[in-house]
Symmetry: C2
Subunit: 521 residues, 2 copies
């Protein structure tokens, strides 16, 4: 569809969204906490143990064998997870096999894709893969932005992906779950082996709801493989491969704090804001990403906590060696971890009972009876663009290219205080704009924007405005910040985009928040 | 219905079963591994986090408040678990409240009931409770046997209960889950507190599939309560009570090996059989109950394993101090535990990562993609009666009274070798009979009957007959065993039962295996 098509619907955020996507009817975004689903959870077929080997050994000869036994055929939805990040060998192999078998029109439903999946562009071109639902980082995003993918891209948050599977919005025919460690019954975890990823939470929903589930490992152990982050009782077939991925790229050997003075300043200012606002106090909780600036925020937190003798109850992660050392130092009681970013994170999760693996179900699923996100006191996130109503974009650049996934970003917006530390401009293009290119997060959920020139607090958060009065922090309005940037860079030209829609952005409740337009290239 | 009603159906085991039970159509038993379900899993309503407190605090003022908020009304299905065993205060309180509110015709769906629930008989009489689905140990079983319960009792195995909930054969309106330890969000486990039970696996299905879930604890801890054996994301309300139960009766302070010479002999003979048959070998696995004889079998296993330097890969339990000491001694690599029977079991599960909590899903659910039961090399079980076709009964006595639940017994029959050590007679009534009063387990799954006078091996197990040849063990046919008993006790009179049906026995796949008749009293 095109953005000016008369069938398009204006949603509660004023964004135009299509009435259906890839043949499925859609609900337009209705506002934060406004849409209450009345549907039922997806009900997969009941399995029978009569159809599975009594001794529990589900090992097949190879991945192709498992895919054939799972009934791989045209038009199926095939899911994978992204715990292997840019070191994943598995997803590419699945589609190599499908291509070799002459299977067509598959829908690939990864929890995220990475540059290593550029390999799949040829299958998008030759019809092996019809389209991708899932975040498309880098080359696949570029390909999609150029209008080359047959179906529409569907971008969901981590929690939104769990919700979509649970609610049957997408029905997975075959889930292929790579695991650092597994037994022949299909119990699996990511805690050991050459392809260790720490945890496998992104594949949890797939294991629970897919019709067929294949667990693939390069580290087959004797039953019982425990902890069973993935339960063999959900698994149809197991496969042993020589190598699941490139360990160097699965887990970064070294996470590094930024050395850039600008970013360090941004991080320090963010931490000082939290301190002044009274957020850093005994028993508090925080979440901060694995990017250079976020890591630096954590280190400034550590400094403040040490000085004041403050202990956090828990940190949500993305874990890394810095967070692990805070746990070991006793500065945080628990790490509630959704994704380990380095080997220290993996080791800690495997050995420290206070380093807990979570999943998008526990942490983020909006269609559950609550989740962990709202319990977090402060979350530090990034953004590509923020507008004067505090709406933010994390998926497209100002030139319109779709180059990033949503990740847990939307889900984290439900935390008690959401802070976006961003540079005032990137490559002389202001980050704060009149209107975001793509709406990923409604402004009412975004509380604070920290830039190197000043801090803007959402007027809805009168409590925060009050709390930092007299703190000496450079508090400004978001319009003032925008003007500040424009003084330096000039008023940016808005990218002229094609009217064709190439992807949609889902909100955490499954409704359509925005459409992503094709670029003119 | 009556056993001679023309509408009754003769199932594949030759037993008469009703076409419907409590208004729900039934499928008659078709044979082991013969019935393959074509249905879908139960699909509960999709929840929305918008309806739950964002800070995760779901604490209500008391149990009544939680029940009212959950919409307690006439005719609902209310579920509880039996981890508190005969020390449970919670189930009785629920129905006290229901009675006080004037709510009627409830269906109580416990994972098992105990003598302490005798309190509920008055509610069965006055119509607060319509009927019970779940095993009825002791007084409630007696009440039911006398034809006094309004609906039919439905007896399921632990795995069958998970299956029934998962498949929507029974739909729980409100699950009330008592927990030794919980946070206000509803994350819960049984690992600590005055009402610690070790684990909460019997409540897992309830938490996943009930429309409303209430977690009740006398030990509320700060978030996160971990491990979350029950996940708060499934929980609607939390309640703090002063006391969940009587710790002395929840967990026995002391599990004791039998001191009876007869039983010790039975245990030793069982262990010797396993040794001779080559079952006790490196990497083997076993399951043995918490009764005096079963415990003794474990101790004889220990002796043999020590002598021969044999290590088991895992023991399934029912854990107790004896099993825990085998784990600590290094004789078993893992305990895969479904129910802790003493404080040593609880402590071990809380502190030893090789003492793993399981659930009826992992261990027993027949309607999953396999389960653990079939992987166990040898299982030692009890029986009230065994017939000459190796069919066995565990629920009724020879006088027809329904006094025991099925527990995991049916599920365990899928283990590689099933051994029933039983005395040849009890109170001068032979245990081996022409035909069991109630069929709970098909003879084709029962391999060996060990009595103090001899061992009968199922003729289907030619391998076992071969393996123990020349071992000097007193191997006999089951008919010879029966004659032996009758020589001593005389041929028993079969109890004359009423024709009215008061309960049914489900097989692990949800089909009807047998009917239980009213007693003449």
């Amino acid at each position: 569809m095109r953005i000016d098509d008369p069938g398009m619907i204006k949603n509660a955020a004023g964004r135009m969204v299509p009435p259906e996507v890839n043949g499925n009817a859609q609900i337009a975004y209705k506002g934060v906490n406004k849409y209450i689903s009345t549907s039922k959870r997806h009900a997969p077929s009941v399995a029978s143990s009569a159809n599975y080997p009594l001794d529990g050994n589900k090992l097949t000869s190879d991945l192709k064998d498992a895919l054939v036994k799972s009934g791989l055929k045209n038009g199926m939805v095939i899911s994978t997870h992204h715990h292997f990040r840019n070191g994943d060998y598995l997803a590419n192999q699945i589609f190599d096999i499908a291509h070799e078998m002459g299977v067509r029109d598959l829908i690939w439903f990864p929890s995220a894709s990475f540059p290593c999946h550029q390999h799949l562009i040829k299958y998008l071109e030759d019809g092996t893969i019809h389209h991708i639902e899932g975040s498309m980082n880098g080359p696949l995003g570029r390909f999609t932005s150029q209008g080359k993918m047959k179906g529409l891209g569907v971008l969901r948050s981590h929690g939104g992906r769990y919700q979509a599977i649970q609610d049957g919005e997408i029905r997975i025919d075959i889930a292929v779950i790579g695991a650092g460690c597994a037994d022949s019954f299909g119990n699996a975890n990511g805690l050991s082996g050459p392809s260790a990823t720490g945890l496998l939470g992104f594949a949890l929903a797939d294991s629970q709801y897919a019709e067929k589930v294949i667990v693939v490992t390069d580290n087959m152990v004797e039953f019982p493989c425990h902890p069973w982050q993935i339960q063999g009782n959900y698994v149809d077939y197991t496969v042993k491969l020589d190598k699941l991925g490139d360990p160097e790229k699965i887990i970064s050997g070294t996470t590094q704090i930024t050395k850039s003075p600008d970013r360090l300043f941004l991080a320090e200012l963010t931490a000082r804001f939290c301190e002044s606002a009274g957020i850093i106090k005994d028993g508090f909780s925080f979440q901060s990403g694995a990017g250079g600036t976020s890591l630096a925020v954590g280190e400034f937190f550590r400094k403040i906590m040490r000085e004041k003798g403050i202990k956090a109850r828990f940190a949500r992660g993305g874990s890394n060696k810095y967070l692990v050392s805070m746990l070991e130092e006793g500065l945080v009681d628990y790490i509630l971890d959704g994704q380990t970013f380095d080997l220290e994170g993996v080791k800690s999760m495997a050995g420290n009972s206070h380093h807990i693996d979570t999943s998008p179900f526990t942490s983020y699923n909006y269609h559950a009876k609550g989740n962990f996100a709202g319990m977090v006191d402060v979350v530090i996130l990034g953004a590509t663009e923020i507008d004067i109503n505090f709406n933010a974009n994390v998926v497209t650049h100002s030139d319109g290219y779709l180059l990033h996934g949503i990740g847990g970003w939307q889900n984290c917006l439900f935390s008690k205080t959401v802070i976006l530390p961003v540079p005032l401009f990137r490559d002389r293009i202001p980050v704060i704009v009149d209107e975001v290119t793509t709406l990923c997060g409604p402004g009412e959920l975004i509380d604070v924007v920290v830039t190197e020139r000043g801090i803007a607090i959402n007027p809805l958060r009168k409590d925060l405005l009050e709390a930092v009065k007299g703190s000496g922090l450079p508090v400004m309005t978001i319009n003032e910040l925008k003007k500040e940037a424009e003084k330096i860079c000039g008023r940016p030209q808005k990218a002229e985009l094609d009217k064709e829609i190439i992807a949609v952005i889902k909100w955490v409740d499954g409704t359509l928040l925005d459409s992503v337009r094709k670029v003119r290239y």
